[in-house]
């Protein structure tokens, strides 16, 4: 039996089509996936992402979370200088493969917060616990199964959140992107509100006590925020050029071959898990964007890509509702350049596609033709 979030019955009552996603029974769409996509690009939509796991890292004077994460994460937590600041990072295995991608928040000197993927959460916690046992005895990892998460995304998302939740505007109006704040509400407990997301639009991700998540969902719906499923979440994140763990990268590939070099801090003297392996293994491939220029199908994961420099493969592909064209992320030989034409095998056809630099769409605007 797949696991259910606290909103499962709410999704079913709304007529959602449910799928097993990483061991969780989740809504893929409530009606038209394309309508849900446009709701986020043009107005505001919300996603139940309570399958993602919040893990709090509590330190002691002898075992500071920052010192531990400085080694555990590929991105550098020393960039987090003010409380509430967030950073995207990979968690790397010692061989440089990607164990997960996550967001880390600096809350206090003795408290950092991670938000990790659903399917990888148990693996991450086991790996981090083992690493902490060696490097930071006394550090405590606390998985927050008591919290649910709703992502509210779109150009109108913040305004609608402020109307839906008492006190939220005062707590979050000054937040810059990739910053979070915590505040108490009269009816929904203590909320953690972060100006982050996975759609290429402005908005918030809100962690709420699971017992209050339904009240929050209904308050947002009353403001006209459209419920959106994981189907729209996938087309939105792909248009935004954001990787999906397990599809665009996993333990078998380097972040340097996954479009994530910008998150891996190889320049400083800091040592981190996986660094030596990355330095010893230069990238031969790169993750690039593709736009299908021939008619004849839709780009999908695992389709082979033929280039002048050798073979590649699509890691994520879909039909872009914003561009009304098929788009993809593909792992290609590193010498393939933006602007090159490559060919994708779709069934019995060989179709031309143009190599582009993601993102495809940001803040409602097409960035590629």
């Amino acid at each position: 039996m797949p696991k259910a979030t606290s909103l499962n019955a709410t999704h079913r009552a709304a007529g959602a089509r449910m799928v097993d996603f990483g061991g969780w029974d989740m809504p893929v769409n409530y009606g038209s996936q394309i309508d849900e996509h446009h709701a986020v690009r043009r107005n505001a939509g919300m996603f139940d992402v309570s399958h993602m796991r919040v893990v709090d890292i509590h330190g002691t004077p002898a075992a500071a979370p920052r010192d531990f994460l400085r080694y555990a994460l590929a991105n550098n937590v020393d960039r987090l200088k003010t409380p509430g600041k967030a950073l995207y990072s990979c968690l790397l295995a010692d061989d440089g493969g990607v164990l997960d991608d996550l967001i880390v928040y600096f809350l206090r000197d003795d408290l950092f917060r991670l938000v990790v993927n659903a399917a990888t959460a148990d693996k991450d916690i086991a790996w981090l616990t083992a690493l902490a046992g060696v490097r930071a005895p006394g550090l405590r990892l606390v998985p927050r199964g008591d919290l649910a998460i709703i992502a509210v995304q779109g150009p109108q998302a913040r305004q609608k959140v402020w109307r839906a939740i008492a006190g939220s505007e005062a707590a979050s109006a000054a937040l810059e992107p990739f910053n979070a704040a915590t505040f108490a509400t009269p009816g929904m407990g203590e909320l953690f509100i972060a100006r982050t997301g996975y759609t290429g639009e402005d908005g918030f991700e809100i962690a709420v006590p699971a017992i209050h998540v339904e009240a929050l969902w209904r308050a947002l719906a009353a403001q006209g925020v459209a419920p959106c499923g994981l189907g729209a979440r996938d087309t939105l994140r792909l248009e935004a050029g954001l990787n999906l763990y397990g599809q665009d990268m996993d333990e078998s590939v380097s972040p340097l071959e996954s479009g994530l070099a910008w998150t891996v801090d190889l320049a400083s003297d800091r040592d981190f898990a996986g660094k030596a392996a990355l330095l010893a293994r230069p990238a031969k491939r790169r993750l690039a964007g593709l736009v299908l220029t021939d008619a004849g199908g839709v780009l999908r994961a695992h389709q082979p890509v033929h280039t002048d420099a050798g073979e590649g493969e699509i890691t994520s592909g879909t039909f872009s509702p914003t561009l009304r064209k098929s788009i993809a992320l593909a792992r290609l030989p590193a010498t393939v350049a933006v602007g090159d034409t490559v060919h994708v095998r779709i069934r019995d056809k060989r179709l031309a596609a143009r190599v582009v630099k993601p993102p495809f769409v940001r803040n409602g605007r097409a960035l590629v033709q």
């Binding site: 089509r17 893929v28 769409n29 038209s32 996936q33 394309i34 189907g231 087309t235 004849g296 199908g297 839709v298 999908r300 879909t318 039909f319 509702p321 069934r347």
Partner: protein, 127 residues
């Protein structure tokens, strides 16, 4: 789920409508379009193509996935619904109006072996 009486069905979720001129019209069912979600591409067989029963002969692609469409009968394609190439979402709007192609059956007796609406309703209720 809408399963009109008077049509025939096969278990890969195509509907078949016998026409007065002896041809059959073929589409995908309401159940199939709902499972696929928003359609964004269709690839239809060209008139003149000869099909064997059970042959994959068309493709419908939604945002989520690609799905083959199978020939419910042997025969020759006499028409395909080219209007769908510019508006595949018509299948989502009305799966029984947005037909995919027409066949002239080479073995019309195969029609008798197809499911009726009651049998197909039972099949999708159990799936």
């Amino acid at each position: 789920m809408n399963v009109p009486p008077g049509l025939k069905y096969i278990d890969s979720h195509e509907w078949i409508r016998p026409e007065p001129d002896g041809t059959v019209t073929i589409g995908i069912t309401d159940h199939a379009q709902a499972a696929l979600g928003d359609l964004v591409y269709v690839d239809l067989p060209k008139p003149g193509r000869k099909l064997n029963v059970g042959e994959a002969c068309a493709v419908v692609e939604s945002v989520k996935a690609a799905s083959d469409v199978y020939a419910p009968l042997s025969g020759e394609v006499v028409a395909s619904n080219d209007a769908l190439s510019g508006a595949p979402e018509a299948v989502n709007e009305d799966a029984y109006a947005a037909w995919l192609f027409r066949l002239r059956p080479s073995e019309p007796s195969q029609l008798a072996g197809l499911m009726d609406a009651a049998a197909y309703s039972k099949l999708i209720a159990e799936s």
